[in-house]
């Protein structure tokens, strides 16, 4: 625990020696992986507990339907005050929304083999347990791509060093624990993302013994390629849609 705080302090302050020591440590991949998984679980713990309480103590589906219907009526009441929206169109949208909602709650109210609340708790536990896998998926694929680019730029990291050292980017994401707080949670999320990005670049530079400029390029390039591919596909889709016939 003491060692973890020491590493965190060094990483958050972008201390080069901490990164170098971590890169050269025995079992760097296992250490990085452990940090990433533990932080992701801690960061999601408050949301998990809140979801769990909400699902255990929350109202049954029939009561939820009544509340949601009331909220929907209030929304449409407010919309009626706007000039320019045809009342007939609004009425139809409202009726369709209510009917769709009743279908959703109707499905929720169908008896299941295990009680409804047990299912809700399972879903919360499943969502919580999935968090590290989701984070690992994105991080691992992206880091493999960054490693290839870094190698082309003269990088010297081994696979284990690259994966282990870049996993340190997850440390600022401890701030995500405050995610459920309105406004502040989102702001802290942005801070954690930016801070995490800076740590990722530093980790790439140290692991590969590259300059910060080259490491930044290696980190950004895969994202640029992904955006370019998505952009090209969207443009192609639009062009195909515009072709007559």
């Amino acid at each position: 625990m003491k060692e973890f705080f020491k590493i965190s302090q060094g990483v958050l302050s972008l201390d080069t020696e901490t990164f170098v020591n971590f890169r050269d440590s025995k079992d760097v991949f296992k250490r990085g992986l452990t940090i990433l998984v533990v932080i992701t679980l801690i960061a999601g713990s408050v949301r998990f507990v809140l979801d769990l309480i909400g699902d255990i103590m929350g109202p049954p589906p029939r009561e939820q339907l009544k509340r949601t219907e009331r909220d929907l009526e209030r929304t449409f009441e407010a919309l009626r005050a706007f000039p320019g929206i045809q009342p007939e169109v609004l009425r139809r949208i409202e009726e369709s929304a209510k009917a769709g909602m009743r279908i959703g709650f109707g499905v929720m109210a169908i008896p299941t083999r295990l009680p409804y609340r047990v299912g809700s708790v399972f879903k919360d536990v499943g969502r919580f347990a999935s968090r590290p896998f989701v984070r690992l998926s994105g991080w691992m694929f992206y880091t493999l791509a960054v490693l290839v680019i870094a190698k082309l730029l003269g990088g010297r990291a081994t696979l284990q060093q690259m994966l282990g050292t870049t996993a340190l980017y997850s440390i600022p994401h401890l701030l995500d624990i405050l995610g459920p707080i309105p406004c502040l949670g989102a702001l802290l999320g942005i801070i954690a993302t930016v801070w995490g990005f800076v740590i990722y670049v530093k980790a790439t530079a140290v692991a590969n013994e590259l300059s910060i400029a080259r490491a930044t390029f290696a980190t950004i390039l895969p994202a640029l390629v992904i955006f370019a591919l998505i952009g090209a596909m969207v443009i192609m889709g639009i062009l195909i849609a515009l072709i007559p016939g």
Partner: protein
């Protein structure tokens, strides 16, 4: 027990595990047993998670009834029934197909047989291609050593043990991790440099992807030609 230890070490990308497998007396047999063992284990564990998930969702027939009843109460239902009755038929068809994507314990039981077979096929095809490319690039290993080492790349599948819990999504991490393990397996078994090992690891994927695209394109072309020959409009 030794093979399980090797598997866990391979998962943590420890190079000693791959070296040990490469130098083992019967790497192919060990790899074969490992793949079968991992395939059966994760499938058995999957039955628990799948059954728990199945027990917390309503029957698909009930869902179908509720949705169709709800749609009939929609304000636009009468107009739609008169103008586009086929849309309602399509909805019914879609609702009937839900049962194929919802959790099903019997399907999970069948996986105990199909998963190890699928693992074996993909392992043999990939390893064979990777071996050829590695040898072209100057690799030194025998085919049994390649097979033994690449069998260790099945270790990320152990992450699916988390599926003992219902509603857990593993995502793409298994694919990325397997890629990393395969890279180490080829690099160490064939004693290749990083660059050559990279190409020997990736080229089989490119070949397999191209073959799949050709196969799908051929299937589509054949289907269109058959429809045309039967007198229908493609």
């Amino acid at each position: 027990m030794q093979i399980l230890r090797l598997c866990l070490e391979a998962l943590l990308l420890r190079e000693e595990a791959y070296s040990q497998m490469s130098e083992a007396s019967t790497p192919f047999l060990k790899g074969f047993l490992l793949i079968i063992g991992v395939g059966i284990t994760i499938s058995l564990v999957g039955i628990i998670g799948e059954t728990l998930e199945w027990a917390t969702i309503p029957s698909t027939e009930e869902i179908r009834k509720v949705v169709l009843e709800g749609v009939r109460k929609m304000p636009w239902y009468k107009e739609m029934a008169a103008e586009a009755p086929e849309a309602l038929e399509r909805l019914d068809l879609f609702l009937n197909m839900i049962k194929f994507i919802t959790p099903n314990p019997w399907r999970a039981v069948i996986n105990v047989v199909t998963t190890p077979i699928a693992f074996l096929i993909s392992w043999l095809v990939y390893s064979f291609l990777a071996h050829i490319f590695a040898r072209i690039l100057g690799g030194k290993a025998k085919i049994a050593q390649t097979l033994g080492c690449t069998a260790l790349a099945v270790s990320p599948q152990l992450l699916k043990l988390a599926n003992i819990l219902p509603y857990v999504e593993i995502g793409g991490v298994v694919g990325a991790w397997t890629l990393a393990c395969n890279y180490l397996a080829i690099k160490i078994a064939h004693r290749l440099s990083s660059g050559r090992a990279f190409w020997a690891t990736f080229l089989p994927f490119i070949i397999i992807s191209l073959l799949l695209i050709l196969l799908i394109a051929g299937g589509v072309a054949l289907a269109i030609a058959t429809i045309g020959a039967l007198g229908g409009k493609p």
